[in-house]
């Protein structure tokens, strides 16, 4: 039994607490009475992962065992999550590799010749061969690359198939190879409660035509939060689409959940609670922080992005999507959920160097906004951690840096769209279509390693609920011009930020600090 999550109340004896701030971290003294939300300690992993996977495949939930589904002469498509999961990338061997290898072993034994592997990268960038090899492993890569192991291409009109329309009029269009298969085996990692389940195939293999029905401002404003599927309009849409899909193609879902071991040995102190730091941890903190400050920016970025997380797998479940996902969510909540009583006036977030969309590149301002207002703000169940009209304070340096290879449309979004408005609804009606159909972005998405032209819009919509809910957003240590372009305000220190927040929430606000990473989700009663 691991230690459950904790809500700490800062008192005189509380040491300064760790806050992530882009490619760096710092210690911050919080005002007395601040509530700090810690996740449960890392759960122990499965002792024998391979046996766990084999058991899941042979005794699935709501489905025949996988070996019985495999017949000679059938078309089998194995679909797997792309590099946006998990974060940071998992130390080799990736759990997806181990699952895929066992699935292929069964397929080979059953004499299935027509097998293809497709990465479910939707409108994310194409992965490089090295990134794919890291996910699927050397052996799978050697056997299938490049003809039968591919990135999904959401703009290849011949490679898509309109499967049907939901009762709500939502078009379901996915990868043709997958749609025309006798069996899809979806290999998933569920890192947060938003991932997995009905989302996997319906989103991962979809096209823009299909995605716009749930990736839009209206849906996201009514997803409260999108990490709580029963209360998320987005997930309702996923489920409707999944029902259409299930009629057309058989999906065998394999989902894995991870524990909270996000940082390897040297950085293990980042996973511990500050008052439990040993002398070694303190020394490691000091050394890491100094070294990080002294390193030239390019070296620092490379080092951060070379981090591989020593995740352990807390569970593998296979079978019918709904049955599997229920257990998966249980595992995720067991690892991440901490009960919090009541909302507060101010929510403090430390934003790290990595979001799902900048693996191997710069976290640009739009991704920062998305990580803070989208992902972290929505790490709640029930009610948001901050009251309506409250203030969000987040830490990030927010330099106006972009990776022209991965994020070309983000640059134009930042320079053209955000200079005119920051209102998600206006942006959606005025610009989305233009960017989604711009042939250059389409070309770069298909042939280079660029996110789709419409992707920055989705990042912006991700924060739509938070923008509606919050009274003000203040960024500590941020570039002032960038912050104002995003519609935020910049402050130098936490004290200044709290002072600025005072205009909105009064002189002595209640403050909550969501201590993350590692992943922490609040169950606000």
């Amino acid at each position: 039994m691991t230690r459950p999550g904790l809500v700490l109340e800062v008192d005189e004896r509380t040491p300064p607490l760790l806050v992530h701030q882009g490619e760096g971290f710092r210690l911050e003294r919080f005002p007395l009475g601040t509530r700090v939300v810690y996740p449960p300690d890392s759960l122990p992993g499965l002792r024998d992962l391979d046996a766990g996977i084999a058991d899941a495949l042979h005794h699935p939930l709501g489905s025949e065992p996988l070996p019985d589904l495999l017949k000679p002469g059938m078309r089998l498509t194995i679909v797997f999550d792309d590099l946006s999961l998990p974060l940071p990338p998992m130390r080799a061997p990736d759990v997806r590799q181990r699952i895929i290898e066992q699935v292929l072993e069964l397929a080979a034994r059953a004499g299935v010749d027509d097998v293809e592997l497709v990465a479910a990268n939707a409108l994310h960038r194409r992965m490089t061969p090295a990134e794919i090899r890291h996910i699927v492993g050397e052996r799978v890569f050697a056997s299938f690359w490049p003809d039968r192991l591919r990135n999904h291409d959401a703009e290849d009109q011949g490679g898509l198939l309109a499967v049907g329309v939901t009762p709500h009029g939502e078009e379901v269009e996915i990868n043709r190879r997958a749609a025309e298969s006798d069996l899809i085996v979806y290999v998933n990692i569920t890192l947060v409660a938003m991932n997995g389940g009905a989302k996997s195939v319906a989103v991962g293999l979809a096209s823009y035509r299909s995605l716009r029905h749930h990736h839009n401002v209206h849906t996201l404003r009514h997803s409260r939060s999108f990490n709580d599927p029963p209360n998320s309009a987005m997930h309702h849409s996923y489920h409707r689409m999944h029902r259409v899909l299930s009629d057309a193609v058989k999906v065998f879902h394999v989902e894995a959940t991870l524990n909270n071991d996000q940082f390897p040995g040297r950085f293990a102190f980042l996973n511990r609670r500050e008052w439990e730091w040993t002398l070694t941890d303190q020394a490691a903190f000091l050394a890491a922080r100094r070294a990080n400050e002294l390193a030239p920016p390019a070296v620092r970025r490379r080092l951060w992005h070379r981090l591989r997380a020593p995740y352990q797998v807390t569970g593998v479940h296979a079978g019918a999507t709904e049955d599997v996902h229920a257990l998966t969510l249980e595992n995720v909540y067991r690892q991440q959920l901490t009960e919090v009583h009541g909302q507060s006036d101010v929510l403090v977030l430390g934003l790290p160097y990595l979001s799902p969309y900048n693996v191997g590149s710069v976290m640009n301002p739009i991704l920062v906004a998305c990580l803070g207002l989208g992902y972290y703000f929505n790490m709640y169940r029930g009610r948001p951690l901050v009251r309506e009209g409250g203030v969000l304070i987040m830490y990030h340096p927010m330099p106006a840096e972009f990776d022209p290879l991965h994020h070309p449309s983000y640059i134009d979004f930042y320079e053209e769209v955000l200079t005119q408005t920051t209102d998600p609804a206006t942006i959606e009606t005025k610009f989305e279509e233009q960017y989604a159909t711009d042939p250059w972005y389409v070309h770069l998405y298909r042939n280079s390693h660029a996110y789709h032209g419409v992707h920055p819009f989705y990042m912006w919509y991700w924060g739509a609920h938070a923008r509606e809910h919050l009274g003000d957003v203040i960024c500590v240590g941020a570039d002032r011009r960038t912050a104002s372009r995003l519609g935020f305000r910049a402050a130098t220190t936490l004290a200044d930020a709290l002072e600025m927040a005072g205009e909105t929430v009064g002189r002595s606000p209640g403050v909550t600090y969501l201590h993350t990473p590692p992943m922490t989700m609040a169950d606000v009663r």
Partner: protein, 294 residues
């Protein structure tokens, strides 16, 4: 003319021949790259350094080679043909490095003329480092003349009868060149099987995978052509011998002896390409101590 003007005029020294003065030149016949120089004593001495000190050290530090059956080579006293399977550029340095120095000194390696002998620098380097000689795989002319001459001169010859590196880790059907040489000249052939090099450094790789992958070289008993045996019969016998070594690697000597048509086993399953690669890249189980050494 002033000196400077004369110099300027002469700087056109590389001007093309005037059209009306162009001499008639017969079209030169493509000649194989000459490699005799690589078998002079001086080149042999240089080769000892390049091959035995350089390449062998490099190969032995970046992989974990195991050698079986080298004792069977003790009885060799005349020129022989080494016939090996081929999956990787690692094969040649491994075989040469694992031969006893007495034989290694006198081995010439047959190398694809279109791959190794197309650029002069690469041809010279290959000839020097491996004592390689060109074999025209497209079979125009008489590709084996040079090999026959070398055998008559007392050199051993290393050939890859498959003719190319494997694409999926499995062996392909042998071509008959090696068998022709043996039956024509009456020299025995030594079957050789190299395993693990496909996983260590497949086609397209330029360096062995990190982590010192395990590779194995396995020599078999020399096979000599019998009186009145046809090339085809001898070829099949040689392929069987190689196949038996392949099976011996996986299942042991006893099982190899009982294999019905051993030359078919290394050809792999008749299935989709992915399954062939999938099988040939199956990780090697951790070695157990055997009660009966092979």
């Amino acid at each position: 003319m002033r000196l400077s003007e004369e110099i300027r005029a002469l700087r056109r020294g590389r001007a093309p021949v005037t059209r009306s003065a162009e001499p008639w030149v017969p079209r030169p016949r493509p000649r194989p790259f000459p490699t005799d120089w690589a078998r002079t004593p001086a080149a042999s001495a240089a080769r000892v350094i390049v091959r035995d000190l350089g390449l062998r050290t490099l190969t032995w530090t970046s992989t974990r080679p195991r050698v079986h059956g080298a004792d069977l080579l003790a009885g060799i006293d005349g020129p022989v043909v080494f016939a090996a399977n081929h999956a990787s550029h690692l094969d040649t340095p491994l075989i040469l490095g694992s031969l006893p120095p007495r034989l290694r000194r006198d081995v010439a390696v047959g190398a694809a003329a279109d791959y190794f002998f197309d650029a002069r620098w690469r041809a010279a380097a290959t000839a020097l480092a491996f004592n390689a000689f060109p074999i025209d795989r497209n079979g125009t002319g008489r590709p084996l003349d040079l090999a026959a001459r070398l055998l008559r001169d007392g050199w051993h010859v290393l050939l890859y009868p498959e003719g190319t590196r494997s694409r999926d880790g499995w062996m392909r059907r042998f071509r008959l060149g090696a068998a022709v040489l043996c039956t024509d000249l009456g020299v025995p052939a030594v079957p050789v099987v190299v395993r693990g090099t496909y996983q260590a450094m497949p086609r397209g790789g330029h360096w062995p995978r990190p982590g010192r992958p395990a590779v194995t070289v396995r020599y078999g008993r020399p096979v000599a052509p019998r009186e009145g045996e046809s090339v085809r019969e001898f070829g099949a016998r040689l392929e069987d011998a190689v196949g038996r070594l392949w099976v011996e690697h996986d299942e042991g000597w006893w099982n190899a002896l009982r294999a019905p048509v051993p030359r078919l086993t290394p050809r792999g399953p008749a299935a989709a390409p992915w399954r062939r690669i999938w099988e040939s890249t199956r990780p090697v189980p951790v070695a157990r101590r055997r009660v009966w050494p092979r």
